[in-house]
Each structure stands twice: as structure tokens, then as C-alpha cells.
Symmetry: C2
Subunit: 213 residues, 2 copies
DNA sequence: TAGATTGTTAATCGATTAACAATC
DNA sequence: TAGATTGTTAATCGATTAACAATC
């Protein structure tokens, strides 16, 4: 069977569709047309229909889309019907912030452990998890199912840590360290580069540009 | 004078160039060709040259680019030669994590105050800043130069807060709340949607795809 | 000078938008 | 049935890559 290659641009938009549909669902909206949704989201209706049709026909001519059904289908596409075990390495403020983010759990991402090297942090409790010593990391990974590792350690430590994680079998990394991790292509890395986000804001504020997106 | 419109794709890449050049600078690399840089960054040399030439000719034929000069020029393009006063609204873990991120200061982003509604947090110190009551926010903004407001409050509170901020004259918002803020177009909003980032990771892990980027 | 590498134009590729036939 | 709106093809637009003349 031929596997359609979905473009990155489309995938990047899916979570946003999911969010808007979730909001509509909360407001008990039953159906929505691509045109109405396009006005809310400030994209073209055409783009919405094209995007969705990469995955299948979720709508109905003359009617539009059933909000609950579409929300659920996009959730499945995004893998939100799966439970993921996540651990966090680096239990500073950012690591703790992630551990405290309840919404992740609602989407199927369960924080199972936090690790740190700092004796000050080891032993502290964060949302029911005792922060463990980084020395226990290898053992932990080898004895537990870990789907996602969030890396919130300093830049200098991240590449070696990532290499070790891969060696121990980790396939999914959520990287907050301000560096690129060059890992085998069967390992999925999603980067969150806060400093770069702030620089983009700076660029636009400094007025070399009058972007509208 | 005609103002060239720089595409969003280009701007999104600038901070990454800046980071790689900064790393080279730390290693005392003096010059680099687009070809060498392209190999490190895993992009095409052509793209690098095209991107840079949106802003001017920073290189020299037969030589390449001077690392220090190019780093500095990209910094200027990104507005990193400007000092920004930033305040953080929502002093939970995420807000505190941002306040503690030293690197921001190095780039010219100074955290001047944190605000929260929680009596537990108000009065606490974070990196030399006493967390203030959100009641003082309007006064603070009216009496101080505030260039950037980082919003780390719950989703439900974010839209009203953003509307107030705009009313009080704020032009730059770094939004961490999982919602879109619909603000006048002279207000610049940069979003960091962590949940959406995690969903993208989930999509790729759930294997509907074998992306190579 | 010869060699290297940029700056820039032209060609290609991919993504977005428009249009409309299919169909609920 | 008539009206609405999708699914999908075709047209357009923009971004990336290739190629090469300019030039250090």
C-alpha cells in the first residue's frame, strides 16, 4: 500500500485545528463548515479542506463537519489516543513547570519521573514524583517503558545526554536545550527553542518588518 | 524607499543561523563558507546565501563569511542590539523558569518584574524580583517602559489580560497560554504552544509518518 | 594569476488558493 | 428538489535549489 507523505506544514497545523475543535466542542457546537472555521482561525477554507483530505473525508457535502467526530479523528491522527510515559531530565523550574502541566496528562502524556544532578533537588516532590538522581537514569530506562524524554538540562550537557538516551533505547525526545541534537533518524526529536522564539519577537518589534502572520 | 518583504520562513531561520555562528565564535572559528555551514546545519548552501542576501551582502567571494561579523549583523537584524524590558505575568513554575533563564539577559531581554494573583506567590523573590500583585499591573505599566510581556497565565484568563495590556499600550506579547490572542495588528504576538509541540512529537512517534525533518 | 566562493538569476519544486463537479 | 458545502482537480503563487557570472 502506498503511503502518502504528509508535508510538515500540514502536520504543524493539525494541533491548532485540534485546539479550535476542542474549544467548539466545549461550547457544544455540533457542526461547522470549512468556511466558518476558516473565519475563526484566519486561514482559507480551501486550506482546511485540503489539509483534512490528506487523511480522509471527514465531512459531508451540504453539511460541513461534525465537530466531535472531526476533533476525535484529528486526535487519533496526532496519536492522542495513545498513552505515553514521559520522564523529565533536569528538574529545575522548567522541568517542574512541565511536570505540573496538567493538560499534558489529559492528552495522554504521563510524567512518570524527574531526574536531576543537584543534591538540592533530589528527593524533592513534584506533583507526586520524587526527583531522582541522574545516576539512576540508565537503570530506570532499562526497567520501565519510557516513550518520551523531556530534556531540560543546560546546553553543554544535552548532546551527551541525548546520545546516552539513544543508546538506552529512547525513541522520542522533547528537547528544550538550546542546541540541535544530531541523532539517528529513527529517533524523533521535537525542539522547543525559547530563546529563538524570543528573537523572532524581537525581530518583529524592532520594526524591520510589518508582518501579518 | 522600497521595503523588501522578508518571508516568514527566512525569519524563522535567522535565530538558528545566529546560534550556529555564536557556537563557531566560541570555538574561535574566523571564517566559514556557505558550504561548510550548510553541512553543519543540514540545509543547502544555496538557501543560506539566499537568506542572507535578503539583508545584504555579508560575505566575500573566494573567502566566505567572517564569523564574527556575520554573527553581529544577524544579531542586529534580529534586534539583539536593543535592550528590552520584559515583565512576566503569571509567576508559577513556567513564569519563574523564564525569569531564571540567564541567557535572555545576555541577549538584551531584561526581566523587570513578575506578577501573579496568588497570595502564596506575591512577595516571593525570583532572581532579585519580588513577585507583585496583579492589581499593581496597570500602574506598573503606566509608570515604566515595558517592551515585552510574557503571559504565563491559564488559558481562560489570557484573552482578557491581553486586551487590557493592549489598552495600556503594550506592543509586544510572548504568549504561553494555549490560545490565540486576537489583537490589533500593531501588537506583535509570538506564541509558544507547548501542548502543540508535544502533539507534533506524538504524531511522529505514532508512526503515521517517517519524516526526515 | 588561478582558485574559491559569493551574489544573483533562472529553473524547479512544493504549497496554497481558486474553482467546480460531486453529492449530501 | 434546491441549496449548501465538501472533496478534488487545476491554476497560481511562493520558496527552494541549481547554476553560473562576478569578483575577491
Amino acid at each position: 500500500m502506498y503511503k502518502k507523505e504528509i508535508s510538515k506544514a500540514v502536520i504543524n497545523r493539525l494541533p491548532r485545528y485540534y485546539r479550535y475543535l476542542g474549544d467548539l466542542l466545549e461550547k457544544d457546537v455540533v457542526r461547522i463548515s470549512s468556511k466558518e472555521l476558516s473565519e475563526k482561525m484566519k486561514v482559507t477554507a480551501s486550506q482546511i479542506r485540503q489539509d483534512l483530505n490528506n487523511f480522509g473525508g471527514f465531512g459531508q457535502q451540504g453539511y460541513g463537519y461534525n465537530v466531535e467526530y472531526l476533533h476525535s479523528e484529528i486526535g487519533k491522527i496526532l496519536g492522542l489516543d495513545t498513552k505515553y510515559n514521559m520522564i523529565i531530565i533536569g528538574a529545575g523550574n522548567l522541568g517542574q513547570a512541565l511536570a505540573n502541566y496538567v493538560d499534558f496528562e489529559r492528552r495522554g502524556f504521563y510524567v512518570k519521573a524527574l531526574f536531576d544532578v543537584s543534591p538540592k533537588l533530589i528527593g524533592q516532590e513534584v506533583r507526586g514524583n520524587i526527583i531522582k538522581s541522574a545516576d539512576e537514569l540508565e537503570d530506570y530506562i532499562k526497567n520501565n517503558k519510557v516513550d518520551i524524554v523531556a530534556i531540560t538540562v543546560p546546553k553543554a550537557k544535552a548532546p551527551q545526554l541525548a546520545a546516552d538516551l539513544v543508546k538506552w533505547g529512547i525513541k522520542g525526545i522533547w528537547n528544550f536545550a538550546p542546541t540541535d541534537l544530531n541523532l539517528p533518524k529513527d529517533v524523533t526529536v521535537e525542539n522547543v527553542h525559547l530563546a529563538e522564539s524570543l528573537m523572532k519577537l524581537s525581530y518583529r518589534l524592532s520594526g524591520k518588518d510589518d508582518m501579518r502572520d
